[in-house]
């Protein structure tokens, strides 16, 4: 079920009514969230509900068992079980065929005719998100940063919470789980922020991302695209993926606000970043902090000298790339970012020009990264990269630039406003009429581009 579909609107209406009816009882409301979330996920494929449930139950009981057993050795075994179960599921469903096929390619290249097995199973939607969310729970208990809960309903609801189940933000148990266990507070401000985030998030997805997507597809679906259009196609994709993913996060956060929850900020004007490390503090924050806390720092972080730090960065970013998808282009994308995180600080930039030059160089790095991310194969990456150095224009480049400009204008206007006011909600202090007029325009424009069946979010495939 997609946020940007008619079905979801009906689902939400029914959910809101029941949510209102159960307002006097925390336990009932958690049950309602749980059932609604499982229904939401089951609409996609009910068979994978068992995977979601299984993964959640393992982590719930592992969490309790870690608390019960004080012995470090047993605790280690238990956390290994949780890691094995979660990463095992991820490995089977997401990576098995990729590694198997890659092995076969390598062996064939070496002259060995071997047929490696493939499972050919479909990828459960959102598996990378909920397994990481679930893992953070057991890891935090193991590291004594969190107390396990005895409340199974609340825990299952925390893992399956439908606003953020399939594409994040990847919430830490320490932030979200306690919100299921205590009386939630809905304020005037949280209602306002919730409504605005839902409207703006849907606007970003339906009006902006889908139109940027049609533009980027023109370039990336055409194997013969070359020259200037590759630059513009990459810009279109960069804006598509941003509007698509941050639009989803906004709707998720908005829904949560209206339900009395507070989810973490997942995007903070990433295209205003002035260095690659700044970018990763602003882009998919819930994932980058996850990798920072559970991989980069345990690997040693920036302790142990610059070579150790570089190694840790490269390992972290390579795995972050692989997290996105089972493909060599994602591995390359991760490595590219890892390399740039290592190299960028050593680029000498004149102090006065630092912000502007830093931003410009960062954008080149980020957008070339998007080329690696969007390309369909290594050959395609080679062809697109080579074509960046040719200079030709298709006849329709004018229409292309016009479309880019039209859809970038509202986004940039809002982002500059957000940047200047240093808040995601720059309109909130303004009077009711201005706020409502802005929302009304967004609602109408979303209706203009609304597709009743919805177009899938890019990050659903991860």
């Amino acid at each position: 079920m997609l946020f940007n579909s008619d079905t979801f609107l009906w689902f939400l209406l029914a959910f809101a009514l029941l949510y209102f009816v159960t307002r006097q009882n925390l336990s009932r409301r958690n049950w309602l969230i749980l059932v609604a979330s499982y229904y939401f996920y089951g609409c996609w494929d009910w068979r994978f509900l068992f995977l979601l449930l299984g993964s959640s139950l393992i982590d719930f009981y592992v969490g309790l068992a870690i608390r019960k057993n004080a012995e470090a050795k047993i605790q280690k075994r238990l956390v290994t079980l949780s890691l094995g179960a979660n990463l095992g599921a991820l490995g089977i469903f997401k990576y098995f065929d990729f590694f198997s096929e890659s092995l076969q390619t390598i062996l064939t290249t070496l002259g060995m005719e071997v047929s490696t097995p493939t499972l050919e199973v479909i990828l459960p939607v959102g598996i990378s998100f909920y397994t990481f969310q679930s893992l953070s729970y057991t890891l935090d208990i193991y590291r004594k940063k969190l107390e396990p809960t005895n409340n199974l309903t609340a825990f299952l609801a925390y893992i399956a919470f439908f606003p953020q189940l399939v594409a994040g933000p990847i919430e830490r148990a320490s932030n979200l789980l306690p919100q299921f266990l205590t009386t939630r507070k809905v304020t005037q401000q949280s209602m306002e922020m919730g409504i605005w985030l839902i409207i703006w998030g849907l606007f970003k997805k339906v009006v902006l991302a889908d139109n940027f997507g049609a533009l980027s597809d023109m370039v990336y679906e055409d194997q013969g695209a070359e020259g200037a259009i590759v630059y513009f196609g990459t810009i279109a994709f960069g804006f598509q993926i941003y509007c698509d993913f941050s639009g989803y996060s906004d709707v998720a956060r908005g829904l949560a606000y209206m339900m009395g929850f507070n989810l973490m900020v997942n995007f903070n004007l990433p295209y205003f970043a002035t260095s690659p490390s700044d970018f990763w503090r602003r882009w998919h924050i819930s994932l980058s902090t996850w990798f920072r806390d559970y991989l980069y720092i345990p690997l040693g972080g920036n302790r142990g000298g610059s070579s150790a730090m570089m190694r840790n960065l490269l390992i972290t970013m390579l795995l972050a790339g692989l997290w996105h998808g089972a493909g060599w282009n994602f591995v390359l994308w991760g490595l590219w970012h890892g390399m740039m995180l290592c190299l960028f600080p050593s680029i000498p930039l004149p102090r006065r020009m630092q912000p502007l030059l830093g931003w410009f160089l960062t954008m080149i790095i980020i957008f070339y990264g998007w080329l690696l991310f969007r390309a369909q194969s290594m050959d395609h990456i080679m062809a697109l990269t080579t074509s960046l150095f040719t200079w030709s224009f298709p006849l329709w480049i004018g229409s292309y630039i016009l479309n880019l400009a039209v859809f970038m204008t509202p986004l940039l206007a809002m982002q500059i406003w957000q940047h200047r006011t240093n808040t995601i909600f720059p309109m909130l202090p303004h009077n009711r009429m201005i706020k409502s007029a802005l929302m009304a325009i967004c609602v109408i424009m979303t209706t203009v581009f609304w597709n009743t069946k919805g177009t899938p979010f890019i990050y659903f495939q991860f």
Partner: protein, 326 residues
């Protein structure tokens, strides 16, 4: 006692007044769109390929082209014949009013009627070319028919009709799409996007080629899909009369069938198509049939089951020209 789920630090009156204001503003914007619509540019919501083709042909029909030969029909007529090439080969002025196969004979006759009423000089010949698949079809696509009807009448088009229960109509979305954003070229998808670019480029191409277009797709023979059943549907036989009614008396009507891929041709195809052509000719009271055009061509010459590749359409146009030179 069960613990309260939430505390609400706002009153519902505040929430209702906020929501009410938002709805009021949406209603005001929608009302303004409805009221201002007559003062805005004429509706032309060419947001995709089909609508661009239909609008371009409806506009072309309003031009006093003075063509000697008028081609009309479904998308096989549009894509398989290059009207400008045909004009050069025959030494006659040719215009292609072929549209899409989602329409029916009634709409073809309305487009033709629109064209003929605009002309100061009548054509000498009208060639009706459709694919055998079109002849089998019993009903057109309602959304396409409604769209072109509204377009030709200069009316705003709302997908689900002008009903206040339709959100599109209620919010004035159709006015935004048709009048305010109509100037924005829309990207075409797939091979059409790579070849033509945007809707505006497709339109320019058709104008430069006397109404013709090409299908740039390439397809493996094994991926060709469709049926081998060929016949004239009762609906087409009925609607043929509408077409006959708009034909001027002294203009020759010639009917032809577009070719089908060889893998969709059974051994009795020639006999079958000959009888279909004859039945079709009778229904339309046509003067002539182009029965020496190829009925089936190699699969490799097709972009899909009904459209030839650009190269094959050039060869096909050449064959057609030799028949129309007479």
């Amino acid at each position: 006692m069960a613990r309260n789920s939430h505390t609400y630090d706002f009153d519902f009156k505040w929430f209702a007044s906020h929501l009410g204001l938002l709805l009021l503003l949406i209603a005001m914007i929608a009302g303004m769109l409805h009221m201002c619509a007559p003062f805005l540019p004429a509706p032309r919501a060419t947001w995709d390929m089909d609508r661009t083709i239909m609008a371009t042909k409806a506009d072309l029909a309003l031009k006093d082209e003075g063509a000697d030969i008028v081609l009309i029909g479904d998308s096989s007529c549009l894509m398989n014949i290059d009207a400008s090439q045909l004009g050069e080969l025959t030494g006659k002025k040719v215009v292609n009013l072929g549209t899409v196969s989602f329409l029916d004979m009634k709409i073809f006759s309305e487009i033709l009627d629109r064209y003929l009423r605009t002309q100061t000089k009548m054509p000498s010949e009208i060639v009706l070319m459709v694919h055998p698949d079109f002849l089998r079809r019993s009903s057109p696509s309602r959304s396409h028919v409604n769209w072109i009807h509204d377009y030709m009448a200069g009316k705003d088009h709302a997908t689900n009709g002008k009903s206040w229960t339709s959100a599109e109509y209620l919010f004035g979305v159709h006015v935004i799409k048709g009048r305010l954003l109509a100037w924005l070229p829309r990207p075409l998808s797939g091979a059409f996007g790579s070849y033509f670019g945007f809707t505006s480029n497709l339109e320019t191409y058709m104008r430069e080629h006397q109404g013709s277009a090409v299908d740039p797709r390439s397809i493996k023979a094994s991926d060709l899909r469709g049926s081998k059943e060929y016949r004239v549907s009762a609906a087409n036989l009925r609607n043929a009369e509408a077409f006959t009614n708009v034909m001027p008396e002294d203009v020759q009507l010639t009917v032809a069938l577009s070719p089908t891929p060889a893998s969709f041709a059974d051994a009795d195809l020639t006999t079958k198509f000959a009888s279909i052509l004859q039945e079709w000719k009778t229904a339309l009271s046509a003067d002539d049939i182009l029965d020496s055009l190829p009925l089936a061509l190699e699969d490799a010459q097709f972009a899909n089951k009904t459209h030839l590749t650009p190269e094959a359409s050039q060869a096909y146009t050449l064959e057609l020209s030799s028949l129309l030179k007479r």
